[in-house]
């Protein structure tokens, strides 16, 4: 039986749809209202407030914290500056991804790591010989993601730091009214947005403060259904949908490497040994077998199929995550991969998916065949291979306040 997060008192009052799911042992809202679209549009046009407490959270401290994290993570943490956040993944020694998450450097010797799966046991396995202390903060720290174009303006009213100087993937300690928080400019929507962490006891006050400050900026509590659409639009992969924890699966085919997941850019290969280094070096040299791509599924073709049945085109309004086979364009009997999640993008007006595809088919612009089921029958439509990221607004990384100051100066 799941338990409520420290925000449950608020979220449960607001969740009029009664649509919940389990997220890592916590109750999590799918959508507050029967329709999730308004929450999606809040993320893209104003601001959505999402409870992200169920993420696993670890405080990693000590003289050797940097060395230890550099050994465990694929990224060289020595290069991560104080006040910066890194998105990364970690592998087992076969170079297969165990989990992905963020690592924040709060101080020289103080880091904060988030993950999708419980990873305390995994990190703990490699601490011998390091002066490092890992504390599982999952049950003592809660988190809210405030995401969307007006999120900065909302925060400006209640926070004691200069929001204009908090850059993309920066992290700062701050006070929201009187609540001490860590705030990072990160998120899972691919938009302008922040994640705010505080002790459980401050949860309700933090929620009320943000909701109050957001009143004039169309803030809306948002659930996981809305989040799922935004993350697919932004090409952000999800553990348990687009890939699996290598330590939990029975066969190698279900494991993935960072390169195969499109996370090659997070790997710093040439440095002191780290978990999976040898295997990743070999893969880098010999080439990967699989790649993660985005698919732009041809709309007119889908429309035509529906038209043959005398129907207007129908698409599910929420994101999906079942496996769907994809085929070679010229030889549609040859399966070349599978889509792992997808959505109708209300912003782009495109039918898109994330897919695992054989490496030789991963060139952007090339065509494949995608299976669709219309009126209980299977059909193939074409789709164009794309980078996974379909939506990447300028505001995500921009710093208008700073630029203005520069122009004026």
């Amino acid at each position: 039986m799941p338990i409520g997060t420290p925000f449950h008192e608020r979220t449960s009052n607001l969740c009029t749809s009664m649509r919940w799911k389990e997220w890592s042992g916590y109750y999590a809202v799918c959508s507050y209202n029967s329709l999730h679209e308004p929450e999606y549009f809040a993320f893209r046009h104003s601001a959505g407030l999402l409870d992200v407490t169920p993420l696993f959270k670890y405080s990693v401290k000590g003289k050797d914290a940097e060395k230890f994290l550099s050994r465990v993570m694929v990224k060289n943490i020595a290069k991560l500056k104080v006040g910066r956040v890194s998105y990364l993944c970690w592998c087992n020694d076969e170079g297969k991804v165990v989990d992905d998450g963020t690592c924040m450097r709060l101080d020289e010797d103080v880091f904060f790591v988030t993950s999708a799966d419980p990873c305390y046991y995994w990190f703990k396995r490699f601490t011998r010989g390091y002066d490092v202390e890992i504390e599982d903060a999952t049950d003592v720290i809660c988190g809210l993601a405030l995401q969307g174009p007006t999120s900065r303006d909302i925060l400006k009213q209640v926070i004691d730091i200069d929001m204009d100087t908090l850059k993309f993937f920066g992290v700062r300690d701050a006070n929201i009214e009187n609540i001490p928080v860590y705030i990072s400019r990160t998120g899972y929507t691919g938009d302008l947005g922040y994640e705010i962490w505080t002790e459980n006891k401050n949860a309700l006050q933090l929620w009320d403060t943000l909701m109050g400050a957001g009143r004039n900026y169309d803030i809306q509590p948002a659930g996981l259904d809305a989040l799922d659409i935004t993350r697919v639009e932004s090409g952000l992969i999800l553990k348990g949908a687009d890939y699996y924890n290598a330590q939990h699966v029975l066969i190698e085919d279900r494991m993935s490497t960072p390169y195969e997941l499109g996370l090659g850019w997070t790997v710093n290969l040439d440095r002191v040994p780290f978990m999976g280094q040898a295997a990743l070096k070999k893969e880098k040299q010999e080439g990967s077998l699989w790649a993660t791509v985005g698919l732009d599924i041809n709309w007119p073709e889908l429309e035509a199929i529906y038209n043959n049945y005398g129907l207007p085109p129908e698409v599910c309004s929420s994101a999906w995550r079942q496996s769907i086979p994809i085929y070679d364009f010229d030889n549609p009997r040859v399966q070349i991969g599978y889509a792992t999640s997808g959505t109708w993008s209300p912003t782009l007006k495109k039918n898109i998916a994330l897919a695992t595809i054989q490496k030789r088919y991963d060139k952007s612009g090339s065509k494949i065949k995608f299976e669709v089921t219309v009126e209980h029958a299977r059909h193939l439509v074409s789709a164009i291979v794309n980078k996974p990221q379909f939506f990447d607004p300028e505001r995500k990384k921009s710093n208008p306040g700073l630029e203005k100051a520069k122009t004026n100066g």
């Binding site: 039986m1 799941p2 338990i3 389990e22 890592s24 042992g25 419980p118 990873c119 305390y120 046991y121 995994w122 703990k124 599982d136 924890n245 330590q247 939990h248 699966v249 029975l250």
Partner: protein
């Protein structure tokens, strides 16, 4: 002269009934002869106290092969198993540990003792699932004969070899460890906290005369894990109407396919002529004849008891005498007026519906074994408690309950000799009740009736030699092509036309049905009866 049957099955245990059902389904005329007035052998439900139906011996089920349920249409004949969701290990010091089907719930519980152990669980499950997949290939086929060059044997070995190789090197190495290590050592490769290891390790000693630190017990652990293939803890379950419900479903299936079943028809001896079995003589003097006799009784009782040592090869008798029974467990069944609460978790009613294990520490379990090694029952035994009436209220009057306690150790061979068990029976029962009373005060006052079964009682009542619940220990050297005797692991005996199908044959152990099924299929293949 009495009617001649195609097949006579001696013993109406669940394996005998499964065997009879398969043979009847194949069109054979089958007669099942059961000594007792009830069917089921050790999987038996009896109204021991008015209004209370006890699963007298075997009390939970997990391994019963799903294909047998399908092939014999058992659901149609009343087979119904209700999953058990939790295992609770009460404690005298804190709130104890409960493990559930819901893994995040379990993770939180285990985290109180060890965060590491809580999180490593999926890795352990993954390894066990991989190995169980191979083991399933072993239990669903007759044991391979490693000495034979018969094409069929070579084919079987090739199939197993392929499966084994498919495990990959890591799992192969792990398999070797599983075959040689103790349950505790094996579990400690993953888990560090004994509050978790102790209750998990008991699966390695059930029905064996070994301790949780004895080498070889890791394999028994797996034997009990295989039932979890279809999904975590949930695959252990209560049979509706008690475990006798399963036997009755098998009996109804057998009858549906045309088998004839007689109770209170104990076989005194198997009639042989020129080294062949030709029939059976009952205790009441009746005789029945057949060219195919299948015994569901254990190997010792079948061959040394019903056939006779003088009709058997000397080396076979020697090997059979070496086959270890040495029952190590007892059973205490109680009719309760009301349920008393466990002090460590008084408000949690859900935990009472599941399995409750008295296994507070590894040392506790080892000390329980120490008593047994020197011929005494454990003063502080390992107890596996279930209260089936919370799941199946039909077993007792409304509001009343049944508490079933599987207890280890109760060595058949007491220091003073097994015959002294009747003098110690109640003291053994008291040890069990007193132990539980510490965790759940008030139990004693709520007992309406207590049934204590020592291994001596199990032997006398159910007919299991030395009270061994598996018809012979499930230790490695007594498995596969050596169960029960090398050269006779394919349900055959030195007596032509005499076969065996009980738990003493491959794969043995638990309410599983495989012995009966594989014996029937072997007989149909080997001998066109």
């Amino acid at each position: 002269m009495a009617k001649k049957y195609d097949v006579i099955v001696i013993g109406g245990g669940h394996n005998g009934l499964v065997c009879a059902a398969y043979l009847a389904k194949a069109g054979k005329s089958v007669l099942v002869l059961e000594k007792r007035h009830v069917l089921g052998g050790a999987a038996v439900s009896e109204e021991i106290f008015p209004g209370f139906i006890f699963s007298v011996a075997s009390y939970v089920v997990s391994l019963f092969r799903p294909h047998i349920i399908r092939e014999l249409e058992l659901a149609r004949f009343g087979y119904e198993v209700i999953p058990i969701d939790s295992t609770f290990t009460p404690s005298l010091e804190d709130q104890g540990l409960a493990r559930w089907g819901d893994w995040h719930k379990t993770r939180r519980e285990v985290s109180r003792y060890s965060k590491h152990d809580a999180e490593v669980y999926p890795e352990f499950s993954k390894a066990m699932t991989a190995i169980s997949k191979f083991t399933k290939e072993v239990i669903d086929y007759p044991a391979p004969d490693i000495t034979s060059f018969h094409p069929r044997e070579l084919k079987n070995m090739k199939r197993l070899g392929k499966e084994l190789r498919g495990l990959g090197p890591d799992m192969l190495h792990l398999n070797t460890k599983l075959l040689t290590m103790s349950a505790v050592d094996f579990l400690q490769m993953w888990f560090e906290n004994e509050r978790l290891v102790a209750p998990m390790s008991v699966s390695g000693i059930i029905g064996t005369f070994q301790g949780v630190r004895s080498p070889g017990t890791a394999y028994v652990l797996l034997h009990h894990y295989m039932g979890e293939l279809d999904g975590a803890f949930r695959s252990w379950g209560f049979s509706k109407g008690g475990t006798g419900g399963i036997s009755m479903a098998c009996a109804r299936s057998a009858e549906h396919f045309g088998a004839e079943i007689k109770t209170e028809a104990g076989v005194a001896n198997i009639i042989t002529k020129n080294g062949r079995a030709i029939g059976v003589a009952l205790e009441n003097g009746d005789e029945y004849y057949s060219d195919t006799i299948v015994s569901n009784a254990d190997p010792k009782r079948t061959l040394l008891g019903m056939v006779g040592e003088n009709k058997l090869p000397e080396d076979f008798v020697r090997d059979l005498n070496r086959f270890k029974f040495r029952g190590s467990s007892g059973k205490v069944n109680m009719a309760l007026d009301r349920l008393s609460k466990f002090t460590c978790r008084p408000d949690d009613e859900l935990i009472l519906k599941g399995d409750i294990t008295i296994a507070p520490s590894i040392d506790y379990l080892e000390k329980a074994y120490d008593d047994a090694k020197y011929g005494e029952f454990s003063k502080k035994p390992f107890i596996d408690i279930v209260i089936p009436t919370l799941t199946d209220p039909s077993l007792a009057p409304p509001g009343k309950h049944i508490m079933s306690c599987f207890v280890q150790y109760a060595p058949y061979n007491l220091k003073e000799g097994p015959d002294k068990w009747p003098d110690k029976r109640e003291a053994f029962g008291d040890a069990v009740v007193n132990t539980i009373e510490e965790y759940a005060p008030g139990l004693k006052d709520s007992i309406l009736h207590r049934q204590v079964l020592t291994p001596w009682d199990i032997e006398k009542k159910i007919g299991l030699t030395e009270g061994n619940i598996f018809q012979g220990e499930l230790s490695l050297e007594q498995l596969l092509f050596q169960r029960p005797v090398a050269g006779y692991a394919k349900y055959t005996t030195p007596i032509k036309n005499l076969w065996m199908c009980g738990s003493g044959t491959h794969p043995g152990g638990g309410i599983i049905g495989s012995g009966g099924e594989l014996a029937a299929k072997t007989i149909l293949k080997e001998k066109m009866v």
